[in-house]
Symmetry: C2
């Protein structure tokens, strides 16, 4: 599709929402280098299986000093616009969600405007949205609202999420990752957001945050972080059920969805979260569950069970098969690239799409998504896959799995040295990055230089 023609709407004569607003097309980028999680276990001296089984992570993507959040965005936008043949003139809004800031004032969005220069189009609303891993979802909601509103002049919106997740050496380090997702938003979409079916929970928490602006690493309160994630999931799911019942008169439970996608800090937490939804369903309607579960857990309240290992294990067991069919296929990229922060949930959507052999099995699917960003911000919402998805499915299927396989495995020792390099140099100006361009996929934007006034220049590797 050309990203314009059949998705255009007339902004001046309408006063109503257009039909089927959502994701028309999307693209993902992850770096060409990864470290193997079991090799990392051996290297760091933790018990075998700690990362692979304990966290559920197989490989972790990373980048060196040649990539930053702006280069990631340039790469994924360029890739999406080129593949779909969309004209830069046809984009009326572009918003970035990220928590990998390289400037406290200048938005990453303005760096992407370099790509628009040739088209002469600078009338492109939207800036950068920030709240931990939730920024991309905020950008998506804002863009869908824009398409439905009088602000839209008939052009499309674009959402970009990109992050570099790195942790100081220690237990959290294997939960890093890097990635970027770009999405074209408009009417008559491939993936449509269901109207009025969205529940959010925002609260003031210090679970994971980055107050030391001189450090690339966050401060993490691991236990609080898990509690906030699960608590937000409970609240959002509960409120979503209420809203859905009010709107459609139908009771929602896990059977209402063909798939459930989660923000994935690490895949094991996603499995626990799926079990948590099952426990929510149990609390709402115990009769649908076994007598054993009823006799063991009927008296336990949601609020009191965040660290109840019996509840966790029992509902993980009870929901195992449903998890494997409804959620595990969406963890392909999360398992192999790691936590990408803002793009994580949308990497889940890409994984979900490519997990379908045929487009026929994909069309019509109803999918729930849970977005979580520490601090904290979260939403539970739902989408429907439409027949327009055909080309997107074909393209992603032909590209993503093979691109995951085309990556190069780097030794944990080399990975550690790269992390140290980034830690030591990320604040420097002037700075000449030393990472080899050979480590980048073709057509990847990279940081060429940082001058004495911190101005960053980006170039692109040959196709």
């Amino acid at each position: 599709m050309n990203g314009g023609g059949d998705h255009g709407i007339n902004g001046n004569s309408r006063s109503q929402w257009p039909d089927d607003v959502g994701i028309i097309d999307m693209e993902i980028y992850f770096p060409s280098q990864f470290v193997d999680q079991s090799e990392l276990e051996t290297f760091t001296g933790v018990s075998a299986g700690r990362n692979t089984k304990g966290l559920g992570q197989l490989r972790m993507g990373f980048c060196d000093d040649r990539e930053d959040v702006a280069s990631l965005c340039l790469t994924v936008v360029d890739k999406l616009m080129t593949r779909t043949g969309t004209s830069y003139s046809n984009i009326g809004r572009l918003e970035v969600g990220t928590e990998s800031l390289i400037d406290k004032s200048k938005s990453v969005k303005t760096v992407i405007m370099q790509l628009f220069e040739e088209s002469g189009n600078s009338d492109v609303e939207g800036v950068t949205s920030t709240n931990a891993c939730y920024g991309g979802t905020a950008a998506l909601f804002n863009s869908v609202d824009w398409i439905e509103s009088s602000s839209c002049d008939g052009r499309l919106a674009m959402v970009v999420c990109a992050d570099i997740a790195v942790y100081e050496p220690g237990p959290a380090r294997p939960t890093g990752g890097v990635g970027a997702v770009a999405m074209l938003i408009g009417p008559n979409a491939s993936i449509v957001l269901e109207r009025g079916l969205r529940a959010s929970r925002f609260a003031h928490n210090y679970d994971f945050y980055k107050p030391d602006l001189t450090s690339p690493y966050p401060i993490v309160d691991g236990q609080l972080s898990v509690k906030c994630y699960l608590q937000s999931l409970d609240k959002c799911y509960g409120l979503y059920k209420q809203k859905a019942f009010k709107k459609n008169g139908k009771k929602v439970d896990l059977s209402s969805f063909d798939a459930i996608l989660f923000h994935s800090p690490y895949c094991k937490l996603v499995q626990k979260s799926f079990a948590r939804l099952s426990f929510n369903d149990f609390k709402a309607n115990p009769d649908n569950f076994t007598d054993t579960l009823q006799s063991s857990f009927a008296q336990i309240e949601l609020e009191d069970s965040y660290f109840n290992k019996d509840v966790e294990k029992s509902f993980m067991d009870a929901s195992k098969m449903t998890f494997e069919s409804k959620t595990e296929p969406s963890l392909l990229i999360a398992k192999n690239v790691g936590n990408m922060y803002t793009p994580s949930l949308y990497g889940g959507l890409v994984s979900f799409i490519v997990s379908h052999e045929s487009v026929e099995s994909l069309v019509g699917k109803r999918v729930a998504l849970f977005s979580y960003g520490s601090g904290s911000a979260s939403s539970f919402f739902s989408i429907r896959v439409k027949e327009h998805v055909s080309m997107l499915h074909q393209q992603l299927k032909a590209d993503v799995p093979s691109r995951l396989k085309a990556r190069t495995k780097i030794s944990p020792d080399e990975y550690d040295k790269t992390m140290k390099l980034v830690e030591d140099t990320h604040k420097l100006a002037p700075y000449q990055p030393i990472g080899s361009l050979k480590n980048l996929f073709p057509a990847t934007w990279y940081l060429d230089t940082v001058d004495e006034k911190y101005r960053r220049k980006y170039l692109k590797t040959p196709l």
Copy 2:
């Protein structure tokens, strides 16, 4: 008004945009302390009039280590919600625009969620939007879109802009300032955004930016900054004219508006910008201008004249009276508080409102606004004042001018010491702020402590 009743809309049964979406009510906060710009001239040894006449600035507000961007937001939101009697349950969206980040991940918006706790409402979408001084406008546009979209469930949106503008000692320091503005957004508003009349220009520039995350100060390329501002003004105004003509068949010039409000880095730039619009009108239609102007400037192109002193002076002279009637009244707060960054333009709106003796002279006014954020992001848009403005006008008029007068003048020496204190301590954890609470207005939120894990605790001075 109660911020709910007459502004509610039914989110579930509608599929159309509600009427008259815009600013229902608004509130401003600025600190109780200021430094006098002419005293600052003497203290820093610059020529007399350099700040007052050269920059057009009379006083500059500042805060000590007791206030940060989150405390500013808490203060202004609390103030607006209390005055209007709005229920926290009636807010469905809250977005913050700021460039005074204290965390790279956790949004300021989540800190404000503390105020919602008692109401039990945590279903409040929106995060933090960042692009220099433009973040507040991005938040406003997003919120208006939300009200018009299917995402809105009938509740109101709130936009908060807050910043602390500080510069290292030197020529830029007198262009600092501090402030916060909160706005309730919904249908049947007091100040309505005109649909389809909005032109933006986004570009990749390093005019003013904050790449050194360890410093509270920006890097400023003064000349480039002025050029980018004026160039964006030209582009936005030109495109606005095109869009207005396409929509209404009417040619736009300065006479199309009762007032023109600008983002104000310093008031002299606003006067130059007004003259710049006049030069734009001249280029579009020279016949409306004097023969002298025609013979002198007919051959000069917009692109070639950003530093043409003859153009600047001639059009400042030619537009002086119009500037004094259409723009100067909106500079009350900018002159007396300084550049507040994201709230600057909306402080201009407050100033514009309070400049009207009677509400009758205010109702019906059509106003153009130019928002600019370095990096760069800019929009030219227009609003209409509706009869709903009555209570807002009365409240602001009774409060803002007297609050400006109630401030305490601090010596330049004391001001310098305060800046040094903030510079030396803003990154520390744990940290116990030392600023006296007596320096704060009543009912002002302040930073009580920062603990060893950088967690910030806020309290409020008595009413």
